[in-house]
């Protein structure tokens, strides 16, 4: 890992701390209130705040996880450095696509 990847991974980790806490709090709130999916979607549809929250969360997860997996592959697989880099980029793109699809479903669809 070089300093650029190190800074991105630490920065996204720091960003995710409040995101994870809020996300868990939301899960507890929704289950405690016995909210249905329809109840939740009725509150999130059209919400710029939830779109920003989960949009940033997805971006942070995609960057953080792909850098982490890159390190794991570097240390634990026989793959060449360039191949490892491409694997990490593909994983990051896949996570971002899946995550943003879910965010769109939450606030738009």
């Amino acid at each position: 890992m070089n300093v650029r990847l190190y800074v991105w991974q630490r920065a996204t980790a720091a960003l995710m701390v409040p995101f994870v806490l809020v996300h868990i709090a939301v899960i507890f709130y929704a289950t405690h209130r016995q909210m249905t999916a329809a109840d939740i979607l009725s509150r999130t549809h059209g919400s710029a705040a939830w779109a920003s929250f989960y949009g940033l969360f997805v971006a942070a997860v995609s960057i953080h996880a792909s850098i982490g997996v890159r390190n794991i592959l570097t240390e634990w697989s026989p793959l060449a450095d360039r191949t490892v880099g491409w694997c990490a980029v593909c994983l990051g793109i896949a996570l971002a696509l899946l995550g943003f699809h879910a965010v769109i479903a939450l606030v738009v669809m």
């Binding site: 890992m1 070089n2 300093v3 990847l5 190190y6 570097t74 240390e75 450095d81």
Partner: protein, 243 residues
């Protein structure tokens, strides 16, 4: 040689990358070191045994080997401290190619010192007055805490990250770089910080702390590497480093 009180069962690695442990019986002596044991085998039992040593007093860093699973400087390691039920299993250092028996090829270890810019680059010529460095300055205190490394390779052999990532510079080279980063007389720090902030540099360290656990001089390379992480990250965020 004093009268042996008992016999030690000593297994020594014989061969290179491919090889096997062979067991020898060595007389137990008072105040006996692991290097004494290896030397006894080479002098009295099997003169073809290859190993490396020089000073025998813990200064040169030549005699490090793996003793009962842990890397150690053998000249200062007493048998009484490490013998497990009168048994010693002595092999070459991990993470380095074996030349023969207990002697490893240290080339990659020292090449990484070069990669980490572990060479002092003077900022003054000999015609200029000597730099005045306060011994109690923060930079000098940080350098002094890491300066006594004897290049024995024990930390390198103990490091999990070196084992997993062949490109990782390793604790000794990074510890050396940290001493020079804190040396006010040195002129190569921009290049040095770039070298240690690159792929395989200080940011690859997982802070497992095996290096400080095993360092025979009780140095703390993990702390030195943490210092390099802080210093190079700050330089990167200020735009002074390219990555």
């Amino acid at each position: 040689m004093p009268e042996p009180a008992e016999e030690l069962s000593v297994s020594l690695w014989r061969g290179s990358a491919q090889g096997r442990y062979e067991t020898y019986s060595v007389p137990r002596c008072e105040s006996q070191t692991v290097l004494d044991v290896v030397t006894y085998v080479q002098r009295y039992l099997d003169p073809t045994l290859s190993y490396r040593f020089a000073c025998r007093v813990g200064m040169c860093g030549s005699c490090a080997m793996t003793v009962n699973g842990h890397p150690r400087w053998t000249c200062r390691t007493h048998v009484a401290k490490v013998a497990d039920g009168g048994r010693l299993r002595i092999g070459p250092l991990d993470n380095l190619p074996v030349i023969k028996d207990l002697a490893t090829d240290m080339q990659s270890f020292f090449e990484k010192w070069q990669q980490a810019k572990g060479v002092f680059a003077p900022s003054l010529t000999r015609a200029e007055p000597m730099a005045r460095i306060r011994p109690d300055s923060a930079a000098r205190v940080a350098a002094d805490a890491a300066i006594e490394c004897i290049n024995c390779g024990v930390c390198y052999a103990a490091c999990d990250t070196v084992r997993w990532n062949a490109g990782y510079l390793g604790p000794a080279a990074l510890n050396r770089a940290w001493t020079l980063v804190n040396d006010e007389r040195d002129a190569a720090n921009p290049a040095r910080l770039s070298a240690v902030a690159a792929s395989g540099g200080c940011h690859s360290c997982h802070s497992h702390q095996s290096c400080q656990e095993h360092c025979p001089l009780a140095l703390n390379p993990t702390a030195s590497i943490a210092g390099l992480k802080r210093r190079s990250t700050a330089a990167y965020l200020k735009g002074e480093l390219k990555a």
